[in-house]
């Protein structure tokens, strides 16, 4: 299924952000451009897992082309924040817009343009590396050349390409998942601990992948504990703690005051 073009939503974006960034965003795959506003805009977002409020009123704006590093202790809500942006976690309270679309009402339009690398790689253990990449690329309508390019970019075009994903090491699986992500040509990349399991070469490759993604117009959110690595790459950094997002400039929660939600 080919993706539907995203329709422009100038008014909503401008109102929501108050700032309009001049640079137009247009990835290689020549999707119709839309007016630039924040790629991610969260307002007092609450997300509940079971009965546990993983996000407790988080607010965040991410501008196009940013590489935003999310840091914070384990259990702070980083993973939930990324999964929420991917449309996997329901919004309990608050408002969220991703790529100019409302998360509650237009989730389908968001999803086609978001790529998530979560804790799990989303690979089929019995299929080879190439088959995995091919499957995920084709569901997004990528061509054979793009698939080959993605494999080559991560050094998976040699002997490894025909090995079953279940037999790979953790780092190699991570690389395969990255190749799938590249081939899917997302405009918003959500990387959850992408460094986990990668060796030094793999980390260099990851940096390279992120740089290329940004160059082609994507926006990247990275949650990582590898601060040295990620900081060199990031254009901005926020701290997630207790289900809230703290910007680096002022250490006050950007969320609403506790107790006044709704």
């Amino acid at each position: 299924m080919r993706a539907r073009p995203i329709r422009p939503r100038t008014a909503v974006c401008a109102v929501a952000s108050g700032t309009v960034v001049g640079r137009m965003v247009s990835p290689d795959n020549a999707e119709p451009t839309r007016s630039a506003g924040p790629v991610v805009s969260l307002r007092d977002v609450v997300a509940v897992l079971g009965r546990f409020p993983a996000l407790a009123g988080a607010s965040l704006d991410v501008e196009p082309g940013e590489v935003l590093l999310l840091k914070g202790p384990n259990g702070a809500g980083k993973t939930t924040l990324l999964r929420l942006c991917a449309g996997l976690v329901p919004l309990a309270r608050g408002e969220a817009e991703v790529l100019g679309h409302n998360m509650r009402t237009e989730r389908d339009a968001i999803r086609r343009h978001v790529g998530l690398l979560g804790h799990q790689n989303g690979l089929y253990a019995d299929l080879s590396v190439r088959e995995n990449v091919r499957f995920w690329a084709r569901t997004a309508g990528a061509s054979a050349e793009e698939i080959d390019a993605a494999l080559a970019q991560l050094g998976l075009d040699g002997r490894l390409a025909s090995v079953a994903a279940g037999r790979l090491s953790a780092g190699q699986r991570r690389r395969t998942a990255l190749a799938c992500l590249i081939a899917r040509r997302a405009r918003l990349w959500l990387l959850d601990e992408p460094h986990a399991g990668l060796d030094a070469d793999g980390r260099d490759l990851l940096d390279d992948v992120i740089r290329r993604a940004v160059r082609s117009g994507a926006t990247v959110l990275v949650a990582s504990h590898e601060l040295d690595r990620a900081q060199a790459l990031a254009t901005r950094m926020v701290t997630v703690a207790g289900g809230l997002v703290y910007t680096e400039q002022n250490a006050n929660p950007s969320g609403a005051q506790p107790g006044t939600v709704n």
Binding site: M1, L88, E131
Partner: protein, 233 residues
């Protein structure tokens, strides 16, 4: 939708081809069921008479195993999440997975049929061959549609191993009944009370109609409902 369906079906069948789980585990399981039925019933004349029912019962049990497997593949490494994030058309996923499931079931049924003929000394009347094939195809479609629909509902849920049979078995009862009666007509055997000794092949065709309705109803329901079911499952 069809493009996605083809991709997903090819992927599922490829996984099966690589892992050989059906060949190595489900088939022996189904064959074992046939043998155990023979032990439990312990009378040759009875097993021959109830062979069609046992055949479809073994198929139904295998269906549950196959559906569990089809969704374990999707949930074990978060592939289902990735499918949702990627916005892959749920109707396409549904049709693709149903198709792959149906293909596996057909292979299983062909071998089970052989087993029934060998173990239970059943024989198909020459005129009943067409009836057997059409019945098997339609029943398989129905089973695959229902199985995928309820498998998707239970996927990722706590206690899905027990929930799936609870949901699935009552629903597939019409298929079990219909396909069994149609097979009896083709085999020329009569289960149950055996009041009427002979049964005509034409007795089987109304059941084929019912199987077709079943497959159509649940296929349509699955295409419509699979998307909402996958959300936050």
């Amino acid at each position: 939708m069809w493009q996605t369906a083809r991709l997903v079906a090819a992927k599922d069948l490829n996984i099966e081809w690589r892992s050989r789980q059906v060949t190595n585990q489900v088939l022996p399981f189904a064959g074992l069921t046939l043998v155990l039925f023979a032990f439990a019933l312990d009378r040759d004349d009875i097993t021959a008479r109830v062979a069609p029912g046992l055949f479809w019962l073994a198929t139904t049990f295998s269906l549950i195993v196959l559906v569990q497997r089809a969704f374990a593949v999707e949930t074990s490494d978060g592939a289902l999440d990735t499918l949702r994030v990627a916005g892959v058309d749920p109707a396409g996923i549904y049709l693709g997975k149903s198709l792959a499931l149906a293909a596996q079931l057909i292979v299983l049924e062909a071998l089970l049929l052989l087993g029934v003929i060998v173990f239970y000394a059943s024989h198909i009347r020459p005129a009943g061959i067409v009836l057997v094939i059409i019945t098997a195809l339609l029943a398989t479609c129905g089973l695959a549609f229902v199985g995928t629909l309820y498998g998707g509902l239970a996927a990722g849920a706590k206690g899905r191993e027990t929930l799936l049979p609870l949901l699935l078995l009552p629903v597939v009862a019409p298929v079990l009944i219909g396909a069994t009666r149609a097979f009896e007509a083709a085999f020329g055997t009569r289960g149950g009370a055996g009041i009427r000794a002979g049964v005509e092949i034409s007795d089987g065709w109304p059941w084929v109609g019912m199987l077709a309705i079943f497959a159509a109803v649940f296929g349509a329901a699955g295409v419509l409902a699979f998307g909402p079911l996958l959300e936050e499952a």
